[in-house]
Subunit: 240 residues, 2 copies
């Protein structure tokens, strides 16, 4: 009998070690805003995105590859980097053909954890590219870990909502014995028709809305506006 | 202006270190079944319950204090201990006036973590004693951490549901900037009228129902059947 692959949801980077990433496709999820920005920049023609953990490394690599350095810490642009972590900063007219070197508070950190733990494959997911992610996971027929980047290891709603949205689309193709997945799926089912209203209750909303980023946040929960698959290969995120 | 105390929910023991337990009442939650059993045994007149982390210590202390040794690992009674982790094993006729020495897979472990991290106060919560817990938290006017014991560090639904039930009762008395709390509260709101049905979807249900413990599990999600407050004082859980 054909056995379906498994699917698990990891609600915080601190919980990643409990799961078997070596035999899994790991989906890095950082809805506000790293993985939404990654999908958008690649959709708009960026040649590649180099995700890096540290600001210093970001600047060094930016110089070496003649790339655009970008990133945020605590939701704000970092001194020494050229750009921020907003999808709106990367229209085709600006980013096409260029290399983006990106460092963020949570998303790039989780990506490097998955890499160091030996993930079989790493892709990034966000509402703007949800269909591309779901199609890939179904076709791959591999075990899946939906990895929420969270906020400084604290579980966050928006990443869990995205995990739930993915689960609701692909669950029939997987064996899911995972309460985190059930919780994410139930949460998304209950909130899917009032997302703009619901995300205004999250801690991240309160953090970023203070910087006037409401439009960014609404973009980041809108499906398929940048529907490509970012896949990690030899240090770069490229279109898969 | 009077500032309300804070409330946070910790969905897995692995996330406890992120929070400031030193200035908080920590509520240990292990719905299936440690904290339900603790409430029941104390409600039925147990003199005290000594929670211990290791089986060996359980046996040693049991001998020293002439207590009843009890516990489980992976949902089953442990060789060398006299009793299991089922609330049904502790009616008044058996437990009144006695000392219970208890070790479990997840609940007693989290309690000792909170203790080692210097929690201001430790109590235990479960549906059978939910009103006593809520009354105490409101009266205390201290910061609250709702600590889910989870299953071997994996987030579980039943502990999150209990956290959500508590939040829904006491939220007006607290400042809550915590997505885990929002998630737990939303989950409980959506499922509160179909709890018996919903818990049959959890991983824990599948684990324990295999041992014929369905009645136990339904008891463990029924409110106020053993409505006392277990509080930790100098090594013992006693009625507060």
């Amino acid at each position: 009998m054909f056995e379906k692959p498994t699917l698990h949801t990891v609600l915080s980077p601190k919980l990643l070690d409990i799961y078997d990433v070596k035999n899994s496709v790991v989906v890095i999820i950082d809805v506000f805003r790293a993985t939404s920005t990654i999908a958008t920049a690649l959709y708009n023609g960026a040649a590649r995105i180099i995700p890096v953990a540290e600001v210093k490394t970001c600047i060094e690599i930016g110089k070496r590859v003649d790339g655009i350095t970008a990133g945020e810490r605590d939701g704000k642009v970092i001194e020494g980097l050229e750009h921020g972590n907003s999808p709106a900063e990367y229209p085709r007219s600006f980013i096409e053909g260029k290399t983006l070197v990106l460092t963020t508070t949570n998303g790039t950190k989780l990506l490097h954890m998955a890499l160091n733990n030996g993930a079989d494959e790493i892709i990034t997911g966000s509402f703007p590219n949800i269909s591309a992610v779901c199609d890939h996971l179904i076709k791959s027929k591999k075990n899946v870990i939906l990895g929420c980047s969270a906020w400084k290891d604290r579980v966050n709603i928006e990443d869990a909502l995205f995990a739930g949205a993915v689960i609701n689309q692909i669950q029939s193709a997987f064996t899911i014995h995972c309460d985190s997945s059930l919780m994410a799926s139930e949460l998304y089912t209950a909130q899917q028709n009032k997302m703009f209203e619901f995300i205004r209750k999250t801690t991240h909303w309160h953090r970023l809305a203070a910087y006037g980023l409401e439009k960014d946040l609404e973009y980041c929960v809108s499906p398929d506006l940048a529907n490509i698959l970012p896949i990690y290969r030899n240090g770069d995120l490229i279109v898969g």
